[in-house]
Each structure stands twice: as C-alpha cells, then as structure tokens.
C-alpha cells in the first residue's frame, strides 16, 4: 500500500487499491458456499425434462429410501406455507401465483418439481434421479411468435400477454410518420442471454427460534430481508440476511426466487440448516434469463436528417414465471430521450412462454440504445449524411436544457453531445476513413462504429425499493472509522469507494476507514446494485454522514481544547487547531474522551462519535456517454476482430477511476458477448440449447480489447456530484459494435439487426447468399442412425435430458384425435449432443404395425414397431459406441413428425422430421 495516498489529504479521484482485494486474492473471501453450519443438509432439485405438461404422479419412495436422504419435499409439503413470490417492487410477481415447486403442471424445462434433502450433494443428486415423475406432455409455447397465437401458458389467464402498455396505432402519430420525407422501419431482435455471474445462485437457511438466518448470494441483503418478511408473512419471525462476498450478480440476484424460497421454507419445515448451491447446468437451464426481445421501430426524418416522429413496438419474452411480469416500459422512456424528438409513441408487451422466466440483466432497457443507434446509422447511410452529423443535428446539447422529453423526463444536465465532441478529439475519423478505403482495396474490411446515449442512474424516491441510501459512521474509541452501509458489492468495490468518500470528508486516512456491508442487521435498507445507484446515492450518504460526524468532532474538540470550532480542522486523523500547535490531538484522543468521559463534552451532547444519514438524491441522475469502436472483419471466416474501443463517459465526479473503468470494461465485455458470442436459446420443443459453458460462449480474454477512456466529469446535482456508471457499458456497447461491423460490411449490404452476429450470419452477408438454408431438410446424412448417442461435454440436448430424466420417467406426447398418414420417406433430424444428426426414415404401415428402415451414409438398420393413432413407437438395439437400446417415440402431424429418442442412461434426444 502506497503511503503517498495517506498523506496528501484527498483520495477521491485516485486509483486507490481496493480493500476487498486482500481477501479475495488470497482465497479468504466468504461466499455463500463457504459458509458451513452444524447439521447442515444439502438440497438437489428434481426438474422437469419437458417444457409443458401435466404431472400425473410423483413417486418419491425410492428416493426417500436411499441411505443418506432425509426428506423428499413436494408441493404438498411447501404449499401450506403459502409463500407469495413478489417482484423486485414487492408487488405480486405476475397475475397468477408463482408456485415454489411445480404443482400439477410444469411450465418449462428445468421447472422444479421436487426437492431432495440429503447429507451431501452427491447423495441428493443420486436420490433426485430416483424420483419418478409421470408427465403428460403438451405442445409448448416457446417463442414470442408462438405466444401471440397459442392458447395461454397459464391456465386461468386469458392470453399469453404478461403485461401491455401503449398504443399500437395513434392516428396523429401515424400521420406524422406516413407524411414524413423519410421513414425508416426496422425490426431489431435481441437473443436471450444468461447473466452468468461466475458464482451461481445459492442459499443456506436456518431457523433459530424466531430468527430466520439466511446466507444468500444476492444484490442486497437488506432487500432480501424485506422481501422474505413480505413473502413469508409470518408473525414473530425476524429475518436476518448475510451476504459477505458475492461472485457477481448482474441483475440475476435481485431477489430470491423459486429455488431459494423452497430451500428457505424447507429449512423451516425440517428444522435443519439447508444449503443449495446452484450448479452451472441448473444456472443455464433454470435460473431466470434476460433480453429475448424484438422491437419494430418506425422513425421519420426530414430531408436533412432531423428527427420528426417515431413509434416503437416492443415485445419481451417473459417466460413462464418472470421475476415480475413486465413489458419494459423503460425501453420507450429512454429510446429518444437524448435526442430532440418532437413526437413519439409506443406499444409494448410482455409474453408468457414455456421457457425459464425473465429476470433482470445489466441495463435491462438497453434495447432502446441498440435500436436507436443502429437505425441512426442506417438512416445516415440512406440519406447520405455522416453518422456523426446526423447525431449532432438531433442530440440535446447543454444549450437545449432544461427541457422535458415527450415521455415527461425532465433533463437539465445531460451531456451526450459534449461526450461525442470529446470522443472525436481522441479519434481521427478522417484518417480512419482514408485507411478504411485503402484497406478495402486490399480486401480488408475495417469499420468504425459510434454510438451515443444517456442512462438514468441513482433513481430514488419514486418506486418502493428505490429508496435513498444510508451511511452509519462511527469514529471508534480507537480513532479508526467504521461505516455501516446500506450498499452492497457484488464486485463493485463499494467497501473501497465508500471508504474513499468518507476518508476525504472526515479527514482520515483511507486505510483507517473500514466499510461493513453484506448483513441486513447492519446499516439500513437499500436495494443494492440496481440501476447504477450505489456510487451516486451511497456516496452522497457517506458525504452527508461524514459531514455530520465531522461537525461533532469539531464541536467536541473545540469544547475540550477550549477553541473556536471554526478554527478546527481534521487532517489525516489529526485534529488541528489553527494557530495553536500545542492543542493538536489525534482523533483517537478526542474519541476516547467522547466515549469515555461524557462529563467533558459540551452540554446536551450525546456521548460517542457517531452519525447517520439517509441520503435521498434527486429522482434521477443521468450519465451520458459516446463510444467508438474499430473492427476488422476477416472476409474469409466472418470473424470480427476489435482493434480499438474508446469510451468517453460522463459519470460526474469520479471516486475511483480504476473502479469506474472496471465497471465500463465489464459492461463492454458483456456487450461484446451479446453481439458476437452468447445465446441462450431453445429448440422448438422448448429444450434449452446452451446448458454448459461449452455452448454458452462467454467472452474470453482474447475477445476483449484494451479499452481507452476519456472521462468527462460534469458534476451532477447529486451530493458529491457523482453519476452512476454500472450499466452503461452493457447498454452502449452493443450498438457501438454493431455499427462498426455494419460500417465494415457496408460494401456488401446492410447487416441484419439480429443478435448475435455469428460468423455464419456475417459470412452470409459477405457471400450474399444464405449459408444456413433449410438445415432441417438438408439431405447430407452425417452419421449412422445406429449411433446417435455420443458423449460430449457441452452436449446440449443430451445433457438437458440426461440429468433431468429419472430412469423411469416416461415421455409422452399429447394424444391427438386425428390420424395421420405415416407411410413414406421422412427426412429426420435427431438433436444429439454433437448437433443435429440427419436420418432418412422409410416407413411402411400394416394396421397397427410399423416397419421401416433408418438410413444414413453410415449404413442402414431396419426396425419394427407400433402405431397408435399418429403415435409411432419402436426400439432398436445398437452396439456402438456401447450397447444400448434406443426407444423411439414419435408423433406425426401432417407432413411433420416430432418426438424423443430415449438413449438408455444417456437420457433422451429430440427428433424432428418432415416428409421427404
């Protein structure tokens, strides 16, 4: 630790080394799985292998009888607790109750059906595999398009609309749009993402008398404690929540959900401490995800590229049980907020499907910046205006403020135009364009993308959980400073940044300030990391509380030292009386008197040196930024190489540049993942396609360039002048990168606004021909039907089914009344772990008997089976790669067929097909 920082007074604005790193670098952090309680038992969940269906029966007897198993809990055990799952806003999460464990029906693959409690996780998983659930499978609703036309996912709901706001067609707006000189319409599609904190979800709960003690990885122990009190609603129950260290959250851990609540209730029911640590497979299958959304934007310009009007029609896949049904109104609030947009309208809907629920993810409304900034570039290209110029013509500048957006947001100090100017000081656009033109002649494709945005941060006072933040400060009798905060770090470094603010304000050394967070019994309520708020509001609370405390120090010291309070300063932990060196005292000397000798204090003065302040900032504090990114695209492979990335953000007064840059960089890395790599998708039967990190591709070190930063530093109106910076990179990153890619590929055409931009999608544009084609109908058989089951880490489908299916579980399709034509030739695709395997099936029917041959270029094998209505079943024995029996169970509907193939202990794989 450098002593230079100790002595020069101010630590705000310096790259102070983080306090938490000493323990995190040495493996001495305390994450939830590191906590062990006497008598602790372990939980594994039994989860649905199908996306939608009825539970006919659950047989837990074999599981319960396994040695080491203490209980197998089902809805019958947990439902009497009558737990009400709430949204982040403490309202009912959705219009129908969200069950803890699925009762009667399952609504997505991974839906928890039963909960095994055992002496260790190994045995718990052994037992979970022995729970036999009999399902009656139904056709799932998977996509937004499915949701729009399918009957409701949830019985009791009228449709699949989870939430809706806005107007689809407003006459005035329609007129403005249609009469405009130039109208641009595009649909932007954003794939589903997994937040993927490196620490998965986890909880350890124990009830000790009337105190429920919960260790849980979360974004605010205070919020979780409040949530639990409301959701459990038990008289005489006190709740304490502890989360010392948290391994990232990004919105996933805003509040407990079905599994955590099941474990908490289970611990109360069984009277034992229960621990559940989500494994990564569960995290990718059953932890709420984010972002699957599409938005059609219509935006009208005049001939000079000035904005006239816009309408956005947005849909968000809420999944079955979102952590709050929503239509993401924020998307529309902010889409044009930084631009002079005279007239706008929106229509916004959330949809229920048979997929895992929607949760929060860093910058949940970020779709607005993606759509706006990419479409501005398209408009600029079509109108032959420079993309920088089209922004300059429309951005709200300092001179335009104060003003109010059409959606009612008051703006007084946003700086997107100024950030853009600063950005352009450090990037020579014309030199880039010259280099780009020269490179193109050599077949090298460089692109420059620029994007601009504003972001609401530090919101408070208008929604239940979005309160002010609290700082409780003490100068201990030792002279050291303790802070108890409402804030909470999941990597944000608030132990350090809050200490920097306090140290500066109090006049003590950074090293002498210790910040305690992570325990609901300390500090006070705060929602934690939600909406880029902790630096802004927590920092403000620290300043105010420190000012109060310093005032008391001065008052007490003046009285003790017989001096004028105005003559007293505190510097580096020393109390100095101006002009009276002999009266210099250490803070400790003053504190010892303040605590231990109340008689020496001024009259009517409370003993001790303690102060508390709950700071309520302005309702919202805006952060602005402009980013630029330069890419090179390999025209042979469609791979994108990011060569440079510059960020110019205005997060007001910077507490710690290293922390600010770390937040920007982390958000940008996630943006790069979203644009190029990550995708948590489903097949048509609702089976998740990325269930390991072999298939869910997170950015690696080689995917993320060295970012360059320009800090604008316009102090905000909030105490201390801070602005939030937690989410910005994740919001502004995607359009910046997409714009760079689109610029590089502009000689080939327009890049589809559909994430992720995979090498295949990019090469399609370069080649000007489809590379995906009709994959299902392709005829190139690639492997023998006799050997569909193979073993591979990252094998999506088999992994999903292998770990989900209990050996005796039956997979049945819904019965269909109509009969189908079955005989003939079928092109089929089996979704094996190594990807789709093409098989040609030739079927002959003789009454209820089905005979046929499966062929691929590896050979053919004949079989015989049964037909019941449109349902086909047969078995085939194979010897490679090992002797197993494949059990086919398919349903024919018209010219399509689908179903599953059970592959012994490997679980099952989905098979789809079309008549050849």
């Amino acid at each position: 630790m450098s002593s230079a920082h100790v002595n020069d007074g101010r630590v705000i604005g310096k790259r102070m080394l983080r306090k938490e790193d000493a323990r995190l670098l040495t493996g001495r952090g305390t994450f939830v799985d590191d906590v062990v309680l006497p008598g602790m038992l372990h939980v594994a969940f039994v989860r649905s292998p199908i996306a939608r269906g009825r539970i006919r029966s659950i047989d837990i007897s074999s599981a319960r009888d396994l040695p080491g198993v203490l209980a197998v809990l089902t809805p019958n055990d947990l439902d009497p607790f009558n737990v009400k799952l709430l949204s982040f806003f403490f309202t009912p999460a959705m219009s129908v109750p969200v069950p803890l464990l699925a009762r009667d029906r399952v609504a997505y693959v991974g839906d928890p059906v039963a909960m095994v409690v055992a002496q260790d996780r190994y045995i718990a998983e052994d037992a979970a595999a022995l729970v036999i659930v009999d399902y009656e499978e139904e056709d799932p609703v998977v996509t937004i398009a499915d949701a729009k036309r399918a009957p409701p996912v949830h019985p009791g709901m009228e449709s699949n609309v989870a939430a809706v706001m806005g107007i689809e067609k407003d006459d005035d707006l329609e007129e403005a749009l249609t009469n405009a000189p130039y109208l641009l319409t595009r649909t932007v599609r954003h794939q589903r993402l997994s937040q993927s904190p490196m620490e998965t979800r986890g909880v350890l709960a124990t009830k000790q008398g009337d105190e429920l003690l919960v260790y849980v990885t979360c974004q605010s122990p205070h919020l979780v404690a409040r949530y639990l009190a409301l959701a459990l609603d038990k008289p005489h129950l006190s709740v304490r929540v502890i989360a010392k260290d948290v391994g990232g959250a990004f919105g996933l851990k805003n509040h407990p959900w079905r599994e955590e609540m099941s474990v908490i209730v289970g611990s109360m029911l069984l009277g034992s401490p229960l621990k559940w640590i989500e494994d990564r497979w569960e995290n990718l299958v059953a932890a709420n995800q984010a972002r699957e959304q599409e938005m059609t934007v219509r935006v009208a310009f005049d001939g000079s590229g000035k904005l006239l009007a816009a309408h956005s029609d947005y849909s968000l896949n809420n999944g079955a049980y979102p952590q709050g049904a929503e239509a993401n109104i924020a998307v529309h609030m902010f889409i044009w907020a930084a631009y002079k947009m005279p007239q706008l309208g929106f229509f916004t809907r959330g949809w229920h499907t048979n997929t895992v629920g929607n949760g929060a993810y860093r910058g949940p409304w970020g779709m607005e910046s993606l759509a706006r900034e990419t479409m501005l570039d398209i408009a600029a290209r079509e109108l032959s205006i420079d993309p920088i110029e089209i922004r300059r013509r429309n951005l709200i500048t300092k001179a335009d403020q104060p003003c109010t957006t059409p959606m009612g947001l008051p703006l007084e100090d946003i700086t997107p135009a100024e950030c853009l100017d600063k950005l352009l000081e450090v990037i020579d656009v014309s030199a880039f364009r010259a280099g780009q033109a020269a490179a193109r002649k050599q077949g090298k494709y460089l692109g420059l993308g620029i994007a601009v945005y504003i972001e609401p941060t530090g919101a408070a006072g208008q929604m239940a959980p979005m309160t002010g933040e609290l700082a409780h400060l003490r100068i201990e009798p030792t002279g050291k400073v303790t802070a108890l905060m409402s804030t909470h770090s999941q990597g944000h470094g608030t132990e350090s940044t809050m200490a920097q603010v306090i140290a500066d304000q109090l006049g003590v050394a950074y090293e002498d300030v210790t910040v305690f967070e992570g325990d609901s019994s300390r500090g006070g309520f705060g929602p934690g990391a939600a909406g880029s708020r902790q630096g802004v509001i927590g920092g403000g609370a620290c300043r105010r509380a420190a000012a109060l405390l310093k005032e008391k120090v001065k008052r007490v010291a003046a009285h003790i030292l017989d001096a004028d309070p105005e003559s007293i300063t505190v510097e580096n932990g020393v109390v100095i009386v101006a002009g009276a060196e002999s009266k210099t005292r250490s803070l400790r000397q003053i504190a010892e008197i303040a605590y231990g000798e109340p008689a020496r204090l001024p009259p009517d003065t409370e003993s001790g040196l303690e102060a508390q302040y709950r700071y309520d900032p302005p309702p919202v504090t805006f952060t602005s930024a402009a980013h630029a990114c330069i890419v090179e695209i390999d025209a042979d492979t469609g791979f994108v190489k990011i060569k440079r990335w510059l960020s110019c953000e205005d997060c007001g007064t910077i507490i710690n540049p290293a922390v600010v840059e770390g937040q920007i960089a982390g958000g940008l890395a996630q943006a790069i993942g979203a644009v190029l790599l990550e995708e948590a998708g489903y097949d048509s039967r609702g089976n998740p396609l990325a269930v390991t990190y072999k298939d869910y591709l997170l950015p690696a070190i080689s995917d993320v360039p060295d970012f360059e930063y320009v800090h604008a530093c316009t102090p905000s109106k909030s105490e201390g002048g801070f602005r939030g910076v937690g989410e910005g990179g994740a919001i502004i990153g995607p359009p910046t990168l997409v714009n760079a890619i689109a610029d590089a590929l502009s000689p080939f055409g327009e890049v589809p606004l559909e994430l992720p931009l995979t090498p295949t999608r990019i090469l399609e544009l370069i080649e000007r021909r489809p590379l995906t084609g009709k994959t299902e109908a392709a005829t190139t058989a690639t492997s023998a039907p006799a050997t569909p089951m193979t073993a591979q880490a990252g094998a999506a489908q088999a992994a999903a089914n292998a770990t989900l299916s209990s050996p005796a579980a039956t997979m049945t399709s819904a019965s269909h009344a109509h009969s189908a034509v079955i005989g003939g030739c079928w092109n089929m695709v089996l979704a094996t772990p190594v990807g789709p395997q093409k098989i040609i099936g030739r079927f002959n029917t003789e009454g209820d008997v089905l005979k046929g041959v499966l062929e691929s270029d590896q050979g053919s094998q004949s079989f015989a089976g049964t037909i019941a209505g449109n349902r086909l079943k047969w078995e085939m024995k194979v010897t490679e790669p090992m002797p197993i029996t494949l059990k086919y169970d398919l349903t024919v509907e018209g010219n399509k067929l689908s179903g599953k193939v059970k592959m012994g202990l490997f679980g099952s794989a989905n098979l789809t097909g079309e008549r050849a």
Binding site: F31, A669, I701, D706
Partner: protein
C-alpha cells in the same frame, strides 16, 4: 462405490483422508480440507475458477478426482501468500492493476499465473495471455488481468535472473 485412503500434501502440509472414488478434487479441497478459496464456477472444466497447482502444474480441480491426488503436492490460493500476509507477486500484480472485481474467478487466475511464473523460466506475455484464455471472468473485461499478466511476463522470454 469404492472408498480410498489417500495421503497428499496441501499447501505444504501433509494430510490423510478417506475419499469416495467419485469425489471431485474441488469438492474434496473445499469441503474436506477447508480450502474454500478453490471456487467452483462451472464444474465442467470451462471457467477455470477451480484451478489449483498440482506438482507444479496448473490444473482444473473439477476435472480430477480427489483419489488421483494420492501422493501429490497440491497448492491452492490459500497457500501462496507469505505467512506474514505479504502477497505473492502474482497476487500483488493483480491487486495493483485492479484485476479483481467480484473475486470469484480470481483464485483460478492467480493459480495459473503463479504456476507459470514460479517455474524455472519466466514466460513471455503471449504465453501468459494464452493461458489466460482458460479463465472466464464475467466482471472485469480482463483489463486488469491482462495488465497484470504483462507485468509478470518476461520482456524477453529469457531465464529468470
């Protein structure tokens, strides 16, 4: 289901244990020996958080069985800093360069860099960065990790002084 007696060295201390054949090394280190700095991020060998050093080599502890370490010397992140708390050079570099946010992937990153830089040759930056591709960090965007790795690297690829 077989059980096995093993004897190994963990962070310089000899230990004996009886382990079930199927128990993974990461679970053994965390649960049986209290080395909770070994973080389990994916349990299928991709994220690298559980990386430990076995007989001088960085390996994923989720991809080994505990029983396989019979007779081995295992070092976890708890075994690197000096008894007086002084950080290992790798830990210090990561701290100085702000290579840590949530700290969950950190122990694995530390162990790979320590295994490579504690060897007889100090690798060049490319070698260290190549090895860093075996670690997933969701927080930092790798900025500080890359700076730390470059700081730890030999400029020339030559022998350590």
């Amino acid at each position: 289901m077989s059980e096995h007696k093993i004897e190994l060295t963990i962070n310089g201390r000899r230990q004996q244990a009886t382990v079930e054949g199927r128990k993974t090394l990461c679970d053994f280190l965390r649960v049986d020996t209290g080395c909770t700095g070994v973080h389990v991020g994916c349990e299928h060998g991709v994220c690298g958080a559980c990386t430990v050093i076995i007989d001088g080599l960085a390996v994923r502890s989720c991809l080994m069985l505990a029983v396989q370490t019979d007779g081995c010397a295992v070092t976890t992140v708890e075994g690197l800093a000096a008894p007086d708390g002084a950080l290992h050079p790798v830990q210090q570099a990561l701290r100085d360069e702000h290579g840590v946010q949530c700290g969950f992937c950190t122990p694995g990153v530390v162990m790979t860099l320590a295994a490579l830089t504690d060897g007889p040759k100090r690798p060049d930056a490319d070698t260290l960065l190549d090895a860093m591709s075996g670690h997933i960090c969701r927080c930092t965007g790798y900025q500080g990790i890359r700076r730390a790795a470059c700081k730890l690297a030999s400029k020339t690829g030559a022998e350590k002084p």
